[in-house]
Symmetry: D5
Subunit: 146 residues, 10 copies
């Protein structure tokens, strides 16, 4: 049983249950972003969360073990073509040097961690059309000298 197998079981159980990612996340008391990402096999679940998710989705016992394993995170190396995902690359491409400049102005020579990291996505109402809000938070890490 691989991470891909478990993802397929979760997607199938989700379809027949009619639950949204927000529903599922609420049942295991985690955020929807992290829950979806772990269900896709892109994050390892702490043991208790893996068991909670298995029980919510009615998965076989071995699934919780697999959900708790460290994944090898493989993502699209070329520019992804799906318009919704591509726009994120466009933002990072256009604003990457700006984000670097502002981080270094505010913190010093270092980076925002992508490991000690979390993210929230919300819908914000707006008279000219509702807006997507993405909030990312990562620990600042400064370079070492020796």
């Amino acid at each position: 049983m691989t991470k891909e197998d478990v993802t397929a079981m979760i997607l199938s159980a989700k379809r027949s249950s009619g639950m949204t990612w927000e529903d599922i996340a609420a049942k295991i008391d985690m955020s929807p972003v992290w829950t979806h990402s772990a269900a896709m096999g892109m994050n390892a679940m702490p043991k208790d969360k893996a068991e909670a998710l298995s029980s919510v989705m009615g998965l076989p016992q071995e699934a919780a073990l697999v959900l708790a394993e460290s994944p090898t995170k493989i993502w699209e190396q070329a520019v992804p073509t799906d318009p919704c995902i591509y726009r994120l690359y466009e933002i990072v491409g256009v604003y990457g040097p700006t984000i670097k400049a502002i981080i270094q102005e505010k913190f010093g020579d270092g980076i925002m961690s992508a490991i000690d990291f979390d993210m929230q996505i919300t819908r914000v109402e707006h008279p000219k059309g509702d807006r997507v809000k993405i909030e990312m938070s990562g620990k600042y890490l400064g370079y070492n000298s020796w």
Copy 2:
């Protein structure tokens, strides 16, 4: 006089003036993210902001015209190697399909615009080490059928 020329003049004026991007942005009453990005030639400035920036930085007259022109936005097409910028690609690579899934759950079939878009970066104090917070906001656009 090209966008690259104006960027070089701004960077040089900034160095000798000792101002930060936050200082400069405050003087033209815009955000630091957008101000840096426009100074780098990645966004066109409205005419009045272009003139304000020229005056703050002591640029020659023609510079304001150039700052107001539409740029051709060229960004790194391969994976960028600078660790601070790379981490942003890693986030978008790992969480791209998750962001897509959550947007479509909350809004329907569509995308977050990267054109009608803005971003803020702040430093958040934290006992285990301060954190970088990035907030993105983009208009939701739904696909057309015809």
Copy 3:
């Protein structure tokens, strides 16, 4: 049942029915371009159109659900080799900067949306050989400053 499965069922039903894309599009009261694209799994169908298409092509019930789901649009990232498709890339490659210049002259700093977008293809008679006419229409989106 995936989008690919449904596409295969539609192509097979189309072959045995002898209908053209124009016939099929007429039956669900949409354009041939959009109908083909959605049948190929490159656009999500509104629920009623998904059900209409399923009924016209004699598909199983689940197919309408699949046709209504948001696709992950994956298209050829390298230069496509089919001569008919390649010529479109050649046009966009040669005339891309021109289209950008004319849009910005007519509208300001912004883009033509590929999301709020539609297209028509027609055959135009001509004494020296009939011509293909492609008409694209997309909403103008102006860049934000903040």
Copy 4:
């Protein structure tokens, strides 16, 4: 004197004259799309048009000869990053197979020529936001068998 030299002279003369591409095109009695493209060195000008453009923009004599030469058309081979140009690739990527299918349904086994080809761009008013209209027309060419 190269095509690049002549392009630079035209852009500079345009800036100081204050003319738009539409103004320039009207003076040489050609379309703005073709005029911009030829000025960018992506199309050869018939001799009389090359001379008319040289005279309108106040170029040196040799420029007309250069404008009339066959260009080697070199365009961005990787996915271009400018959002306005990228959206065109997205359209061709998503709808390429659809355009091929509709052309072959309407004409037979063949292609739309990118050589015997023309294009118009217009602004269409619309209550929910004006739209960009791009019209392409190319001769149908059928494959040979022998």
Copy 5:
């Protein structure tokens, strides 16, 4: 039944029949180059030729329909490694700009069509070793101005 299936059936029938491509081409009264290319799924066959080939090779009825469909021509995008095919790329790479210069000297600003096109291959005896002769013929197409 796909183009690949039909190609496999033709190759198998050819092997057991002992016919050469020249034999097969003669039976359907077409050239060996075009016949091989269509048998490989790289050209669509006119209906009567598709039926003739099916009958010569003893293919099932549906095969003639498939042979008559428009192919999506997918060819090696990277430099092919087979020495016999690579040498053709080497020729086109080394002599491409020369062929362009000579065509434009003899015809004007335009191209040799690869659609309205045919090719012959013959063996030419030579005292120092026989030679391969490849003759290509394509319609000249001149660029449009508008």
Copy 6:
């Protein structure tokens, strides 16, 4: 003095002399294809031809030595974008496996040499539009076994 320098001198002398490649080739008693290719630095000239060309074009003495040196042949490794040159790649891409099959049917296991090789280009009149004819001839080389 490099091959590039000599090419530039030849092109400039050609422009001011008004000669075509055919004229120049006739003066040194070689074919236009080979003459253009050697003038572009893609073939080495035998000493007497190098001197003849230098004298015809009025080049400095050292130029003949450079024309006689072995070039390092560097050609476009990616798909070239110029439509006239691209069509040649399209032909080689679509018909490459066919040319290989026919050569091996007519000669055995081997290749057409691209070294012991020559080429002619002619204009062929045709009522539906004149045609470009390209004739290639290369020595057959059979693989060795040992």
Copy 7:
């Protein structure tokens, strides 16, 4: 039955027979390099050698026919990662221009054929550690002028 099938049969028979490539090559009276290469499907075997190999390895009758067919030689296009094979690329990368210079100094403007070619590999004893000796021999081919 494909070349890959025959390769697999040979490898399996080799393993159970305990023969080395040198043993096998000796039985068919050819070199080990060529024998291995043909067994891998990278060279066509003359009919008698194909039959000899089939008989030595106990292959089914059809295998000899397949071994005698012209292969499409497909090899790793990217830099291969196996250290033993990579070192060969490193040698060719570092010394390629040197080999070209020495060949042209000794022979004139031309190449070493990779078609009329053979190779031997031997173990040479050496007090500081035995050495691998690779000897390549290819016919010199001079460029044509016409």
Copy 8:
């Protein structure tokens, strides 16, 4: 003064002196292959050889120091297009797995070193056309286990 500068000085001195690589190599008592490679900046010269070469070619004093420095060996990463160099890649591509198999049969699990390595190139007379002989010799290195 860089390695490139010294290479240019050597080439220029060689042209005016009329010496071949074989002549130059003889004067410093090294092989022509290694001498050319070090002159091209692809190998570091022992101090005495660097001084000998400087004196033979009449180079300024600093040149010997530069010839003795460790180079950063940068070679063509894509498939090189020069036919003489390409054929070497073709040989390594086709015969790479064979060379690996024979080395491992003769030595065990390991590689031929490209560092403790040397090469000779000779012209071998042959009635059907002279042949290029390339002899490579590299120390066998076995993998470590720990």
Copy 9:
């Protein structure tokens, strides 16, 4: 039975036995790094170690033979996306030229062997967070001149 088959058998036996890589390595008296690497099929095992591992993991007899065969080492050629592995590439990318400079300062013109090589990984306690320590050791190899 391939190397991949044996890897899968080892991973499955490891999961059911509950042993760590450190446990397994201790049982065959080798290091955990080398043991994991050989179990993944990236190193050949000496015969006795192959038999010991087979017996520890309860593998079928043929497995020991396969573990002892020379692997073809194929590793990710593009930048790997897993964050844990990517960081290693980042280190090598940033510090590669530094490592080269220091090696050449300490040893002369040459390299650190990746064949006569070993590695250890340990956990080092640290008050601000434990640290990963990686120790690599490879034989110095000096370039040859001849």
Copy 10:
């Protein structure tokens, strides 16, 4: 004055002073690895170290400011061809998944930081040939769940 300018000044001063990297590092009381890396513009120097280095190497005043700025770290994205640097990629390619497995066995789901990181290189005497020892140390960072 850019980082590249300062690197060139340091290299030139180093050459004329005859100091090694070890000498320079000792004078500013830092390690040779970090000192070289910062001198190459791949790490920012703390202000006092930047001033110390400037004074040791006799650089102009502005140089210390430049050495203290955050660099944009750009390193070779393709496989580097220099054999000394390539071997490091080979090690990371072959052993990357092993390093990941051992880290996760010893620490949990996370990575070794390349930011809070240091490295030492030493020469280790050995009777069969001295060895290069590389020691890397990076802080362990565990993934977040939220």
